[in-house]
């Protein structure tokens, strides 16, 4: 057992932390949000230069061969900075599909471009009705010669409006909520029949609704075994939840820091408000919630590559429960302890709170995963 980072990981943490603390001030972030796609292309290039866009990919594919702990390090730093760039969408989600199911040809064609920052990807999986059920796919893929034709609609596709290519899930067989029968397909964002409606999300990031009408897919763009994609999707979503857990911890850490600073500096009744014991205890509760979340984010990172899919998912679901609850609590408390100023767009705490809430409702909220975990028999064997 070892909770220490390796020398290389410490360097990674330092270099990402330094870049983001230089380049992700509050005003800078506000400016990036107004750029096309809602993020900074210049920073994206810098991530490429740092190597973090290549991080999880195998060396033979043009990657660096990092693991979930490395992703945790990057995502926590991104959570601290409240990063807008499509790292989760491109590297973790779509990149994860390519890593686990992409053919050699696809990997060779796409991963170097992800790594050098010239390709933005998105995973178009969830649908209007699917909520948090990963098997609920109504979009259809019908065999068409050597390829397929896709019809349907995808919802809340993270960064779907800036992606050059989408990885779309669609049903080749079976009923709408059946785990079997789902396939994954690579679709060019400009392909005929694809329409994309982008929008900002409550946390200042971007997503899109994607409609697919008779979109033709060549055999080379079928990812993995059509009809057998569920294990891949589940694995990638577990990795994404582990990554989001780390991001949430970064956000909570900042909310806690900013709040304790405020308690030391804001004066009412002639004293810093940190003198009031009820606020001291609230700050301690925030700390405990953050640390419990940090522990669970570490668990998720260390279990994300676990070969036993059941054990992997239980741990990640448990982490997501803790992250969701802690994130809500820390966000609400940070806002409350600031009084009026915490309610404003001009102040940073509210933006972190919104991101923490958005993370909770991404890929299943705390209640959803609690129910899943309970159904799976909990964490300890009876």
């Amino acid at each position: 057992m070892d909770f220490e980072l390796s020398e290389e990981q410490r360097l990674l943490q330092e270099s990402v932390g330094r870049l983001l603390s230089d380049r992700y001030g509050f005003e800078q972030r506000t400016a990036y949000m107004k750029e096309p796609g809602g993020f900074s292309r210049a920073l994206w290039k810098q991530y490429a230069d740092l190597g973090i866009l290549a991080l999880p990919f195998a060396e033979e594919d043009g990657g660096i061969g990092g693991g979930p702990v490395d992703i945790m390090i990057v995502m926590e730093a991104m959570g601290r900075a409240l990063v807008l760039e499509p790292y989760l969408a491109t590297v973790v989600l779509a990149g994860g599909v390519l890593r686990h199911a992409g053919s050699k040809v696809l990997r060779a064609g796409l991963i170097p471009k992800i790594a050098d920052g010239s390709l933005v990807l998105a995973l178009a999986h969830s649908e209007r009705q699917s909520r948090y059920d990963l098997a609920d796919v109504a979009t259809s893929a019908k065999k068409d010669g050597a390829g397929y034709v896709l019809d349907g609609a995808k919802g809340i596709v993270l960064h779907g409006d800036s992606a050059d290519k989408l990885i779309v899930s669609a049903r080749v067989s079976g009923k709408q909520r059946e785990r079997d029968g789902i396939g994954l397909f690579l679709v060019d964002a400009k392909a005929k029949g694809v329409s994309i409606r982008g929008y900002q999300t409550i946390d200042g990031l971007r997503a899109a609704e994607v409609t697919l009408a008779g979109v033709k897919i060549g055999a080379e763009d079928v990812i993995g075994d059509p009809g057998k994609a569920s294990p891949v999707i589940e694995r990638v979503v577990d990795e994404a939840m582990a990554a989001l857990s780390a991001e949430a911890v970064g956000a909570m850490t900042v909310m806690h820091e900013v709040t304790t600073d405020y308690l030391k500096t804001r004066k009412q009744f002639g004293v810093p408000i940190g003198n009031f014991q009820v606020l001291q205890h609230a700050a301690v509760d925030m700390l405990m919630a953050t640390e419990q979340a940090r522990s669970m984010a570490m668990l998720a990172a260390m279990m994300a590559a676990e070969p036993n899919a059941v054990e992997r998912h239980k741990s990640v679901a448990a982490a997501k429960v803790q992250i969701g609850r802690s994130g809500r609590f820390v966000g609400k408390t940070a806002t409350q302890l600031h009084g009026g100023i915490g309610m404003t767009m001009e102040y940073k705490v509210g933006h972190y709170f919104k991101r923490a809430m958005a993370i909770d409702v991404s890929f299943g909220d705390a209640d959803h995963h609690l129910a899943t975990l309970a159904k799976m028999g909990g964490l300890l064997a009876a």
């Binding site: 948090y132 806002t335 409350q336 009026g340 309610m343 767009m345 001009e346 809430m357």
Partner: protein, 401 residues
């Protein structure tokens, strides 16, 4: 003990209910149900309808347009209005400055302001908080110095709700810098058109514009705009804040929001079932209903005590109602966000401003206001005296400190 209203009260409830049903304009009702933005026009329209009926200022003294209803009837009226659901008449006029003028103002002020408040001919806003004086309101620094027949006001107010519409602002100002902090404060009425006043908007985290900073730079205010006695403003403010707290409980509004929650939970589906059939979610709704029923019963006890005439002792009850009421509203807003799941994420401010919509919404047409309202309603435990301050007030009372 008997929970039922008597015949007269029941008849009264039916009367107000059918009035709201008939008279509340459908577009306003719809915006209220959908949680969309209620604009200045909506409030003015609705308050004038009420005023025409003689109900805009039902709780005021009868000589100034009040109805003389019993506390129970006042309670029924508010409860029904919130459940209609209708917007409140403008709080700052009808529930805040109006009662202060009635209780402490002079005849000229009553004649000049009260009818205009009732008919919302003037839009009022509340200038209490300052950047350095929130919870510690009595430390406020905005000064008013006498100069002949007027005061000269300098300083800054903040968090001033809807000051962008305001014709008048009621302010706490320091008139005696040398006395104990509570004893040097006066209550001034200031015309927002007076030279030297600047309003700067503050955007809240949900993206809406409802609060402002208001700056005063050598603003001349006639002496006749002083309410009551100079340096007695703190007493009037305490009277006003007690009323404000009572108003934040909003039991009727929470009932209406729970109905909305159940409606949406029966439209939204989890798998092949409506969300309302999900055991966990249903239990969460039931839990908040229990809390709300307890609050309603507590509020009724307060109302009943007022009916029996022992309402004048300083009562921590208004603080209890404020704390529990705010917590319940926040819980409901959280469940309403939860009910749409991931479709709470798209940020669609134009869908909330009813009149500006020209694109179809993203996701279900009821989703857009839900997450912003959740964030916005975090304010309820902050304003009107934060919940921490309310607990301090109750603690002082029960511990005799």
């Amino acid at each position: 003990m008997d929970l039922r209203f008597n015949d007269e009260e029941t008849a009264f409830r039916d009367e107000v209910r059918s009035f709201f049903k008939k008279s509340l304009p459908e577009n306003i009702r719809r915006k209220m149900v959908e949680g969309k933005k209620i604009g200045k026009e909506d409030i003015v329209t609705w308050q004038r309808i009420l005023n025409k009926k003689g109900w805009a200022v039902s709780h005021w003294a009868t000589e100034w347009g009040g109805t003389g209803w019993s506390p129970v009837k006042q309670y029924i009226f508010l409860d029904e209005m919130q459940q209609a659901p209708a917007p409140s008449p403008l709080q700052f006029g009808v529930y805040m400055v109006g009662p202060v003028i009635i209780a402490f103002g002079n005849e000229a002020q009553k004649k000049k302001f009260l009818p205009r408040i009732a008919n919302i001919d003037d839009w009022w806003c509340q200038g209490f908080s300052e950047p350095g004086s929130g919870s510690d309101l009595a430390s406020l620094k905005t000064t008013a110095k006498r100069a002949g027949d007027h005061y000269v006001v300098n300083g800054q107010k903040t968090w001033t709700t809807l000051a962008q519409y305001a014709d008048w602002i009621f302010c706490l100002v320091r008139t005696n810098p040398d006395s104990k902090k509570q004893e040097g404060i006066s209550f001034l009425l200031i015309d927002m058109k007076t030279p030297g006043i600047t309003v700067r908007p503050i955007q809240t985290i949900d993206g809406s514009r409802e609060v402002n900073e208001v700056f005063f730079d050598d603003v001349k205010v006639p002496l006749e705009n002083l309410v009551g006695e100079e340096n007695k403003g703190w007493d009037y403010a305490k009277f006003l804040l007690g009323n404000e707290r009572f108003g934040i409980a909003r039991v009727g509004l929470s009932k209406e929001r729970i109905r909305r929650l159940k409606e949406l939970a029966s439209i939204e589906r989890v798998g092949d079932k409506p969300m309302i059939d999900d055991e966990r979610f249903r239990t969460k709704i039931a839990a908040v209903e229990v809390e709300l029923k307890a609050l309603e019963m507590t509020q009724l006890r307060v109302v009943a005590a007022a009916k029996n005439g022992n309402s004048n002792k300083p009562d921590p009850a208004s603080s209890i109602l404020k704390i529990k009421g705010s917590e319940i509203q926040q819980t409901i807003s959280e469940l309403l966000f939860e009910v749409v799941g991931p479709y709470g994420l798209p940020y669609q401010p134009e869908q909330i401003e009813d009149d500006r919509v020209n694109e179809p919404p993203i996701g279900p047409d009821y989703a857009a206001p839900l997450a912003p309202t959740f964030f916005n309603w975090r304010k309820i435990s902050i304003y009107g005296g934060s919940n921490e301050i309310q607990k301090n007030i109750i603690a002082k009372a029960i511990l005799g400190l």
